[in-house]
Amino acid sequence: MRSIAIIAGGVFRDSIRDRIGYGLVFFSIMLMASSYLLAQLTAGQDVKIIKDLGLAAASAIGLFIAVFFGIGLVTKEVERKSIYSLLSKPVTRTQFVLGKYFGLVLTLLINLSVMVLAFYAVLLYFEMTTLDGAKAAWEAPALDPRMLKAFALIGVELMFITATAIFFSTFSSPFLSVAMTFAVYIVGHFGEDLKNLNAIVQSVVLPYITKAIYYVMPNLSALDVKSAVVHGLPVSGTSMVLATGSCLVYIATLLVGAILIFSRRDLK
């Protein structure tokens, strides 16, 4: 356990050295600047658009960090040969994979928390500077705490993407790993289309295959409640727990798969 924590701490320190935080500051500034510009263009939908933009930016920035840093966690160590010195210490390959994973998850969750703070700071400013008459048109309060549900599920999705990236990077080249991780992300969001493909294709076999893929692949669209929280629509706790639980099972599966593959890999 201690070895995992030490490796995770190393990943976290590396991510700070790689200046991921700068991207977040940029994100916050862009969000604040765009708020003023967009308010002029959106026919009164400024708060909705700030919320949409903030949630989408948190999701997109997190996705890119998860994919590109997740892929590099294992491959960089192998390419630089630094893995030899690491594995010569009392560290197992299982601890190495788990340490890398939890290190990046920690980084992502801290980044996400910073984005949440920046997001609510912008909304607080809007709340304070908007007249009561204009607030009446809002579908949900500017500082609606229900938006935290969307951020929580974004966090779960990022944990899944990180696990996927690490899984692919244990046996594939960085380029292919990036492509396959994005493919999983896209297929995960196409769940309903895969399930209902029989309605638009003539084939007898294909719908069975796509339905099988639908049930095997995680349904990431179940984690996407961004639009619902922005409109102030209810998001049930049960569906959140089920979606999170299902995703955690997939994460565990991917990590076990990654450990199995990486343990059998000849690093010479």
Partner: protein, 300 residues
């Protein structure tokens, strides 16, 4: 050694500033010399809402916002353009994609239907598209009585179909959150078909219940148009009086003020002098008035 950081002299910093200023200056000079190609009509590359939904995996809402901004800009740009023939053809596809990307985008349905029904040259006058957009909203959010109200409004105000309007109001009044004035409104529309009171009631309700400033502004404009219709009816007897006295219609308002029939030039509720046609004697709001164009007059 090359691996050590190098401290550049101030010369490079000066060169950087000079190059930046020089580049910008050239750009400004070039701007004045460039021959602009003829303006291309707006191109809407992706027409399919379904395809757009799939292309924006996980980021549908933010793309819906982009399309909403595009729709508003497109409508405003076309409306304010000086083109002889204003083309609003892309408005419905833009709104259709917006609402497909974010099916709960309330204002896109409500305000979109107002933009679509607005008569030419202020809008495309496509009432069937306005109704289709609201029907789409009803499919997504069947509990929204506002969409039934808006559809009834389009039927009554723009299409002059009191029966269809009353049907929409009645359907809306059956919804759990519907206000208690919606059912009497249906009755009022049917009973007072062709009367201005029902229209005034509709606009007034929209002004009071409109969730957004733009909706309230549209309602205020509609109420002012009704006031203008009443003014015009009050002014018509004076035109006829002049005709009886002179055997012709007045060439302008100055003839009416000169002959003491009117004290001042009559102005519409927006403060613009009404236009008087010397051939037919008809009175309308001026083309530069925000109340232009008026819908054709309500009988009765």
């Amino acid at each position: 050694m090359a691996t050590r950081p190098v401290k550049h002299s101030g010369f490079l910093w000066v060169a950087l500033v000079v190059l930046l200023v020089g580049g910008t200056t050239l750009q400004v000079v070039l701007e004045g010399k460039l021959q602009r190609p003829a303006t291309m009509p707006g191109v809407h590359w992706i027409q399919s809402p379904g395809l757009m939904r799939r292309l924006t995996v996980g980021f549908n809402a933010v793309w819906a916002d982009i399309y909403w901004i595009r729709a508003v800009q497109y409508y405003g740009g076309t409306r304010l353009s000086t083109d002889e023939k204003k083309n609003f053809d892309q408005l419905y596809p833009l709104l259709d994609i917006t609402t497909s990307l974010d099916p709960n985008f309330n204002i896109a349905y409500r305000f979109g239907s107002i933009l679509l029904s607005e008569g030419y040259p202020n809008g495309p006058g496509k009432t069937e598209q306005a109704i289709a957009l609201l029907q789409k909203g009803i499919r997504e959010m069947p509990y929204k009585w506002q969409y039934y109200h808006d559809a009834g409004f389009v039927e009554y105000w723009w299409r002059r179909d009191a029966q269809a309007a009353a049907d929409w109001f009645l359907k809306g009044s059956k919804l759990p959150d519907a206000p208690n004035w919606l059912e009497p409104l249906a009755a009022s529309v049917l009973a007072e078909h062709g009367q201005r009171d029902a229209s005034r009631a509709l606009w007034t309700q929209l002004e009071h219940t409109g969730e957004h400033e733009w909706l309230r502004k549209a309602a205020k404009r509609g109420l002012m148009q009704l006031d203008a219709e009443e003014h015009i009816e009050l002014l018509e007897p004076f035109i006829h009086k002049f005709f009886d006295m002179n055997g012709r219609f007045p060439k302008g308002w100055q003839e009416l003020t000169g002959s003491k029939i009117l004290r001042n030039f009559p102005v519409d509720p927006a403060g613009f002098v009404y236009e008087l046609d010397p051939v037919t004697g008809s009175i309308t709001v001026a083309p530069n008035s925000p109340l232009f164009p008026m819908r054709s007059r309500i009988p009765g």
